[in-house]
Symmetry: C2
Subunit: 186 residues, 2 copies
């Protein structure tokens, strides 16, 4: 394998395409994001990187709540639309049907199979982006996306993002905490 | 769609399976992780959540460097092995062939098609996990995984993780910053 260098760039791998929800000026707003991850197990937390100029950030910092919504491939057009248009220029409150959960001020997109409510824990200024770390307060999921009471990725049918393109999920290739038992020292 | 609540838990969506590399006691060590994301565009940064008890964390904090390595599905067994076994109990320096780049102290796994060198920028204590935010200093990629000079996700063939299972990437379902142009207000 011949390796070459690309120089520093904000690239990791394929990431989940998400919608960050926040109330801004009293209205639900959704921003497309793919730079998000769980951040802690106990207490459960997640983080998302948001450009400091983004309209959504105002709502996150004002209410100290936000949501992470997992669209399925069926929300391709709406999801990408929320990344093309700023809430500062266009009212995006009607793109999804919003509902509220435990936090009251973090809008959740009904059409997305998974909605995660977060209470802002900390923000970290990294440069162009502010990393918003939130404690996960509640998770809402479409009952049809569960198998044995647990989220089933194949049923959720999430959209993945990499390099200006969206992908769907492929096939299971192995079990975690199990496949490695086959490892033999070289 | 009928939504039910799952309670708070550290769940987001399908995430990339990665290997966090760090030198610990002068030896390369790799830890499996799926809680990682780009964190900033300018300067380019990435973050990864690491349990505070993990052996790898000692190396990250000692050297203030780490790597994020993107395995392909061909590294399934080795990748899962690094999540089953702690470097505190077993020397994992031979699981991958290590090389070093600009940072000298962040081991890079030759067998993985993508290797990202990070200089530790900040850590955030979230609870059980410490979020390690690093500035991306260099990216190494298998020349065979490029198309028109850019990383090609289909060629990288990354492993994705969700709920105790690994998946491969599916098909492209749409173009980002483009598909949303079809959006029509309801």
């Amino acid at each position: 394998m011949e390796k070459i260098t690309l120089g520093p760039m904000p690239y990791l791998s394929v990431m989940p395409a998400l919608l960050v929800g926040a109330n801004v000026k009293g209205k639900p707003n959704y921003m497309t994001a793919a730079w998000a991850s769980p951040a802690c197990m106990v207490p459960p937390m997640a983080c998302v990187a948001v450009n400091r100029e983004r309209y959504t950030l105002k709502g996150i910092e004002e209410n100290r709540t936000f949501s992470l919504n997992v669209p399925s491939v069926h929300q391709l057009v709406e999801t990408d639309h929320c990344g093309l248009v700023s809430g500062a220029r266009e009212d995006k409150s009607g793109v999804f049907t919003s509902f509220y959960g435990a936090l009251k001020t973090a809008p959740l997109a009904e059409e997305c199979p998974v909605n995660i409510e977060c209470r802002l824990f900390k923000t970290v200024d990294c440069g162009s982006h502010r990393l918003c770390i939130g404690e996960i307060v509640e998770i809402h999921i479409d009952r049809a996306c569960l198998t044995d009471g647990k989220p089933d990725s194949a049923k959720i049918n999430p959209m993945l993002y990499a390099h200006f393109a969206y992908f769907d999920l492929g096939n299971e290739v192995g079990k975690a905490f199990s496949a490695g038992k086959m490892y033999k020292e070289k």
